[in-house]
């Protein structure tokens, strides 16, 4: 009897929590499909027929959300590609080579993880404006790569250490060069960490506001989150349009999460990323 009561209590608590985490998504969707008057009159009700798709049409035609998606996507994708390209080689060397000064270098790389991006933002802005990179993708991408590298190397080095040395030696005997060894052995064996890095840093880049808000001043280049900040600041009279914008901005990252949920949770369980 007591066990049953406890079971009901646990289920109830979990159900409550699930609702609290899913409700905002529903709230955004439902209210983005209403008229303004309908939203103010009945904010909790389901949208009545006919569904108002005008908000989404406005997001596409006036806010050019597809262009914003493109900008965010290019920045996130470039970040992940460069991050992995630089991170894989360094992690492999840190994990499998023995040389003088290795741990000192490793610690030096890790220490930069704790520099807050607010501390570097002003000097970086001045640096990028001298290089002519302000309002280009590169200013944001390079900042991200530098910001994420230590954590990504931490994750991959730990994972690559677990690769069996005999496999690497066998590949060498088979005539694999340095790059072939990485491509044929290190990447496949360390795929858990590589995969987690790709998904996690893509989502993190997609969701960030601070860096692109400072560096991207041209309307043509701004990301989804920067445009969203504008939408939320200037269109307070059109709340249903704002809901459409908020939901659209969240959808891509959520889609990635739904597809790769298992890999993300497994990677996080080992507490490597925050």
């Amino acid at each position: 009897m007591r066990g049953k009561l406890k079971g009901i209590l646990v289920t109830l608590l979990l159900a409550l929590m699930t609702i609290s985490f899913l409700y905002p998504l529903y709230y955004m969707l439902a209210n983005s499909l209403k008229t303004r008057a309908d939203y103010f009159a009945r904010p909790f009700a389901l949208p009545g027929a006919p569904l108002q798709l005008a908000n989404y049409a406005t997001m596409i035609s006036q806010f050019r959300i597809l262009n914003l998606f493109k900008n965010s996507f290019v920045i996130s994708a470039l970040t992940v590609v460069l991050l992995l390209a630089a991170g894989t080689f360094a992690s492999y060397v840190f994990a499998k080579y023995r040389f003088k000064g290795r741990s000192a270098l490793y610690v030096a790389v890790m220490v930069t993880m704790f520099i807050p991006s607010q501390v570097t933002i002003i000097p970086l802005y001045v640096l990028f404006s001298r290089m002519g990179l302000v309002s280009t993708y590169w200013s944001v991408v390079l900042s991200y790569v530098a910001l994420f590298l230590p954590e990504c190397i931490l994750l991959m080095t730990a994972n690559f250490r677990g690769i069996i040395d005999e496999l690497l030696e066998a590949a060498e005997i088979d005539g694999c060069g340095y790059f072939q060894k990485i491509w044929n052995v290190v990447l496949p064996m360390g795929r858990a960490a590589v995969f987690l890095s790709i998904i996690f840093y893509f989502i993190t880049s997609w969701n960030d506001l601070f860096t692109p808000m400072i560096f991207l001043q041209s309307m043509e280049k701004r990301t989804v989150m920067v445009a969203l900040a504008t939408l939320m600041g200037r269109y307070t009279g059109a709340p249903t349009l704002q809901f459409a914008g908020l939901l659209l901005a969240a959808v891509p990252a959520l889609a990635v999460y739904i597809v790769f949920q298992r890999q993300i949770i497994r990677g996080l369980s080992v507490g490597a990323i925050k």
């Binding site: 646990v10 289920t11 929590m17 985490f21 905002p24 709230y27 955004m28 909790f44 630089a86 080689f89 360094a90 060397v93 080579y97 270098l105 930069t112 704790f114 520099i115 807050p116 991006s117 607010q118 501390v119 570097t120 933002i121 002003i122 000097p123 970086l124 802005y125 001045v126 640096l127 790569v145 530098a146 910001l147 590298l149 230590p150 190397i153 994750l155 730990a158 994972n159 250490r161 969701n207 506001l209 601070f210 808000m213 400072i214 969203l228 939320m232 704002q242 908020l246 901005a249 969240a250 990252a253 959520l254 990635v256 999460y257 993300i264 949770i265 996080l268 369980s269 507490g271 925050k274």
Partner: protein, 294 residues
């Protein structure tokens, strides 16, 4: 010959990383520290003025207000760790559908903090859903302008941050729990230990290191990553009543309407760096993360 090749491999594998970090992380820190002693405007003016930026920031009431806000906001750390622990305990004994719950609790972490911030701003707006519910149940008196004074505003920010972080905490704590040998647990069940005894006499004591890590990681996170929440919900206001150090850096440099005082902004940034370093040193002592992951 082979040795030479290995040296080349090491050098060319590490060089890109070291270059990127040197140019985009270490060099800016050096610039920030040096410029914090000047009246830099980002362009040509950059005269050495000693400690004047630091002194005038600390002497103005702003520093103490920012410090107060930071301390209040740090209260979110024990709350989010505790909430995450409770959720992890609920999921630990593999209740029906635990995989689904585990996937759902992480959803807020996937949604941008900017979006979460704006959602909370709407929910707790004067005419927002939360006040609408209060008025509907006859508590209209309590339906106040939540962002109108610093204490309720900071309260809503803390609520949003805790809600956002429960999933991360729970997943990391669950990861720590999976390292507890099942034999210990089964023995306790056989000995007739109740659910609460199992939870608080066996599981929690074995999690001390994980919990320490959770507390310190969220502490550093609170000091450095609240920008999107504050930007969306309060803009640091009313006045500077909800600003933190990291938000002040933004206000003094790029935030609209203040003019750019890069010298002052970098001085505040250096103070933030010192605060984070202090936290980090404790973290290094408590949990050697690099060794834990394999």
């Amino acid at each position: 010959m082979k040795k030479r090749r290995i040296v080349l491999q090491i050098v060319f594998s590490l060089l890109p990383v070291l270059l990127v970090l040197a140019v985009f992380r270490v060099y800016p820190i050096a610039v920030a520290v040096i410029k914090s002693f000047t009246n830099w405007d980002g362009l040509y003016r950059s005269d050495f003025i000693g400690l004047r930026n630091y002194v005038s920031f600390i002497q103005s009431g702003l520093f103490w207000m920012v410090l107060r806000n930071t301390l209040i906001l740090l209260a979110n750390v024990p709350l989010q760790v505790f909430a995450g622990l409770v959720v992890a305990l609920l999921l630990y004994e593999k209740v029906k559908g635990w995989r689904v719950y585990r996937a759902v609790i992480y959803i807020p972490q996937i949604i941008s903090a900017v979006i979460i911030g704006f959602l909370f701003k709407i929910f707790f707006g004067f005419n927002g859903p939360f006040n609408a519910v209060l008025r509907a149940v006859g508590l209209g008196r309590l339906a106040i302008e939540w962002f109108g004074n610093s204490y309720t505003a900071l309260g809503v920010v803390i609520f949003a941050v805790v809600w956002f972080s429960i999933g991360w905490q729970a997943i990391v704590i669950l990861g720590g729990m999976s390292a507890i040998p099942t034999s210990v647990f089964e023995a306790a069940v056989l000995d007739g230990a109740s659910y609460w005894q199992r939870a608080f006499k066996i599981v929690v004591p074995m999690l001390v290191r994980v919990l320490e890590f959770c507390i310190i990681a969220s502490g550093v996170w609170t000091l450095t990553q609240l920008f999107p929440f504050l930007y969306a919900m309060t803009r640091g206001g009313p006045g500077f009543e909800t600003s933190t150090l990291d938000y002040m850096v933004y206000l003094k440099s790029f935030g609209l309407g203040f003019g750019s005082d890069y010298g002052m902004a970098t001085a505040i940034a250096v103070l933030l760096l010192l605060l984070v370093l202090a936290f980090t040193l404790i973290e290094m002592r408590v949990a050697n993360r690099a060794d834990d992951w394999s």
